[in-house]
């Protein structure tokens, strides 16, 4: 790949998805593009990029952008956040909602581990109000990731990253060398391809939104726009979960960190995260 190739990829990532392509790590870019090049029938990444320049075909451009944006994921990544959701946030919300379901959205769900972790955490919460209903929603930029997420079938390696063995046995079914999330959990989740740069106001209200593994790679000029668009969907007692290491100094006028340092942020600091004892 030439420096011009890198510039092209960086420009596409920025324009289409607001993602900062790590041009200083060519090996990383190559490792993401080489499976795509193979799948599309090109001999090399160079041939793929040449075709990209020659054809300017929208489908291929998106395939490249999706491959560049692919993020690493695992079950219960950032374990403390899921514990806090299970033990504090969801019980508190459930006691404040009487009829309405609690709506949760994993806004960059990749291959689905995060949404299923959310669903498991909600199912494991013990102090919910009776009759609490949940609606889970998973979205990602990558159609391929969503297909895998929706299938809910994981390799032995994947289920050993972050998933406690008791949760594996309780919520998954073994099929040969793979593990499938139980239909009961899978049917609780709805999926959609969503570009976070698009108009998010059509999404409706969400009580809990997870935006993890995103901001750190997002173009600085777009971070505030996306966070503000998501915060606008939260009710006063809603929460946004980011990565604990995300820099939130740009958003401290709209978000307040919940105690615990797990990356959970409150829209309204006067609403307590935990249920009243």
């Amino acid at each position: 790949m030439t420096p011009e190739d890198m510039d092209l990829l960086a420009a596409l990532g920025r324009a289409r998805a607001g993602v900062r392509v790590e041009t200083e790590k060519p090996y990383l870019v190559e490792s993401r593009l080489s499976p795509l090049a193979r799948r599309e029938g090109y001999d090399s990444i160079d041939a793929l990029i040449a075709a990209l320049r020659a054809k300017r075909e929208d489908r291929l451009i998106w395939a490249v952008v999706e491959a560049l944006c692919r993020s690493d994921t695992a079950f219960f990544r950032g374990r403390e956040a899921f514990a806090q959701l299970r033990d504090e946030v969801l019980p508190a919300l459930s006691h404040r909602r009487s009829e309405a379901p609690i709506r949760l959205w994993s806004a960059a769900c990749a291959t689905g581990q995060e949404v299923y972790s959310l669903a498991i955490a909600a199912n494991e919460a013990t102090t919910l109000a009776t009759g609490t209903r949940f609606e889970f929603f998973g979205s990602d930029l990558s159609e391929r990731s969503l297909e895998k997420a929706q299938a809910g079938i994981y390799t032995q390696f994947e289920v050993q990253r972050g998933l406690p063995i008791r949760m594996l046995i309780k919520y998954f079914e073994n099929q040969d060398d793979t593990w499938a999330i139980s239909p009961r959990i899978r049917q609780m989740v709805r999926w959609k391809r969503i570009n976070l740069l698009s108009d998010l106001s059509v999404m409706g209200r969400f009580d809990v939104i997870l935006l993890r593994g995103v901001l750190r790679n997002m173009d600085a000029s777009l971070r505030a726009k996306v966070v503000q668009a998501l915060v606008a969907l939260l009710p006063a007692d809603g929460v946004l979960a980011l990565d604990p290491e995300d820099d939130v100094s740009e958003f401290d006028d709209v978000l307040t960190a919940a105690p615990g340092g797990a990356g959970i942020y409150l829209r309204d600091p006067s609403v307590r995260v935990a249920a009243a004892a």
Partner: protein, 121 residues
Amino acid sequence: MKTCLVVDDSRVIRKVARRVLEDIGFEIAEAADGMEALAWCRAAMPDAVLLDWNMPVMNGIDFLRQLRREPGGATPKVVFCTVENGPDHIRAAIEAGADEYIMKPFDGDIIEAKFAEAGLL
């Protein structure tokens, strides 16, 4: 320093596991079967046991059931590490008192993640 007893009849597996566990700060003892492992535990109870299932003399599940009956035997965190990857084996291990379960093949990341899950890190 925390101690971990690595129990596996394969010298290669013991060596791989030793390297991973030493990197995350454990002092390692090795045993080639359940009986040898019990002798270790009776002499000095480790903080953790990484345990194979299929071994000669005494297998992993029999060792675990015996360990949990020994004085002080409830304390060590026991992490199975085996090719037996079916739900029945996993359930039996949990019932016998295993804290976590690794399905072979494994890598360093999986050992580290599972030890964290068991509260060892």
